[in-house]
Amino acid sequence: MDIKNAKIKVTLTIICIISLLLIMTLDSLAVIDQAGIFSVDELKGAYGTQLAQLAKNGMQKLGYNITEYNDTVTNRQTILNYITDSGNHYAMYLNGHGSNDVFAIQQYGGSDTIITPTNNTIRGYWHFIFMSSCYSAATDSFANAFKTTGYSNRAFMGWYKEVATAWSYTWAEVFWSHVGENTLRQVALDATSVSTTPGTTPIRMYGDKTWYGWAWDK
């Protein structure tokens, strides 16, 4: 009788462990792509908060789980931590200053306030990056550093020259309110076409031209 009971206990324990392992596996498979929204403190007054809010709403519409939102970034480490942290961080919106191959937290800050595609700080295979800073997409360096080129269902967006603040905000309103309806490329082109700014907003995209931008598990 005791042996029988012991056998039942062992069987039940094994079943429990297997079930637990199965649940954990399924849970890890079902995890939602996470996104971080960052806007530098210096741009808080120049639509920084509004732009970050639009991006947050847009990313949520695309199915991303926003795990970090910060519209007062003063230290590059805040962003670098999100880039290097383990987890399902696959999308990011970054609003800041920039020049060729430089994303800057401060417009006139030192070398410790910038992120570049070559300083080995960017890791991982990202799905969707929108770097809203002057010249962020002038070359494909950032797009390559985030590994968003050469694969399907990945994209990098940015500006290929300097961009006026109010015009980019007008563009962003149209873009984020239409994401998910067509491919990212089409939505970006439509925002450029439809937004009534006096000039063309210098948006540029690298990556999969046919991708809608949806979080992968959606």
Binding site: Q53, V163, A164, T165, A166, Q186, A188, L189, D190, R204
Partner: protein
């Protein structure tokens, strides 16, 4: 009798003087662009977040002049016209002819004219553009049509076959101009700007020229794939412009802009200016560098003054060409 006539005459004179005075006061009030903008913004619907920028509404809840069927026909007419142009143009490059014949794009444009589509269409209130729009889509293209004026706002083909462009800016300019001419839009718009979007796509803007000033609010934007000479999308913008007189000169405008910047503690080292047509906005109606953008429906001739500080940062100030008020601007804050 004479007295009676005199009295009537007096009353008439008083009436004319009163009416003229009231109209004059009203005109003086109307002349202030900033006041009008403030009033207009107060009347605008408050919206918050992307969900309220674009709201789907019930067809029955709104009275519009263009029916769903008419909107589909308007889009179809443009889609057919551009498809025919694209097919003709794709055949221009004889070397690529054989390859193109097999391409998905060519098949798509061939089919569009004859195809009977199952269209998905809904009506949307756009709170940014302040208009009601028919959003239509089918498997080959999608479009937006103003539900009251019937004007096509946007038509975009679903292109899947992209070829990397080998054309330089001058070649793209020439191809874009040829494509635009073929559209026969009955206007004499001139090429205003062109920019490369990705390795295969360019965006080209044609605008009206009013008294030698480009008017970007009466414009046509084309997305083109220059390698295959394809128009991928077209958008048409046609807004009312106030034909205000240019009263102040460039020097006066620059002084006004610099004075305004100084009052906000900006140190300006150089300026650049041009007469432009711009939508007025509330960009400089801020406190402590906290910009709040309220774009207005008012579009006027302004002096666009580009001011640079000692570090090279650029600020834009719009000075109204008639009233000399500061009526908006922008900054290259990035």
């Amino acid at each position: 009798m004479k007295k009676k006539m005199l009295m009537i005459l007096c009353i008439l004179v008083i009436c004319i003087i009163t009416t003229t005075t009231v109209l004059a006061i009203n005109n003086i009030k109307q002349d202030s662009v900033t006041e009008r903008m403030k009033k207009e913004n107060l009347e605008k619907i408050e919206y918050n977040g992307i969900e309220s920028i674009k709201q789907e509404i019930e067809e029955t809840s709104v009275d519009v002049k263009i029916t769903k069927e008419e909107a589909i026909d308007i889009s179809k007419a443009y889609a057919n016209k551009i498809s025919k142009i694209n097919l003709e143009e794709m055949l221009v490059d004889k070397v690529k002819n054989t390859q193109l014949k097999q391409s998905a794009n060519m098949e798509k444009f061939n089919n569009i004219v004859s195809k009977d589509y199952k269209n998905e269409i809904n009506i949307v209130k756009n709170n940014v553009e302040q208009r009601i729009i028919w959003y239509q889509k089918n498997e080959d293209y999608y479009s937006r049509v103003d539900a009251n004026t019937g004007e096509l706002i946007l038509l975009h083909y679903n292109i899947t076959d992209f070829e990397e462009s080998t054309k330089n800016e001058e070649e793209v300019r020439s191809i874009a101009s040829e494509l635009y001419k073929k559209l026969e839009l009955n206007n004499d718009f001139e090429l205003y700007s062109l920019s490369q979007f990705d390795d295969s796509t360019w965006v080209v803007m044609f605008t009206e020229k009013r008294e030698e000033i480009f008017n970007p609010y009466n414009s046509v934007k084309l997305t083109i794939l220059p390698e295959n000479r394809i128009i991928e999308s077209i958008s048409i913008n046609n807004e009312n412009i106030e034909d205000n007189e240019v009263v102040i000169n460039e020097n006066q405008a620059q002084k006004i802009a610099i004075a305004m910047m100084k009052s906000k503690d900006y140190e300006i080292v150089s300026t650049n200016s041009e007469l432009a047509i711009r939508r007025v906005n509330s960009f400089w109606e801020n406190s402590e560098n906290n910009y709040v953008l309220q774009e207005s429906d008012i579009i006027r001739k302004v002096w666009e003054i580009e001011c640079k500080n000692s570090k090279g940062k650029k600020f834009i100030v719009y000075v109204d060409a008639t009233t000399s008020e500061v009526v908006g601007g922008d900054t290259y804050g990035y």
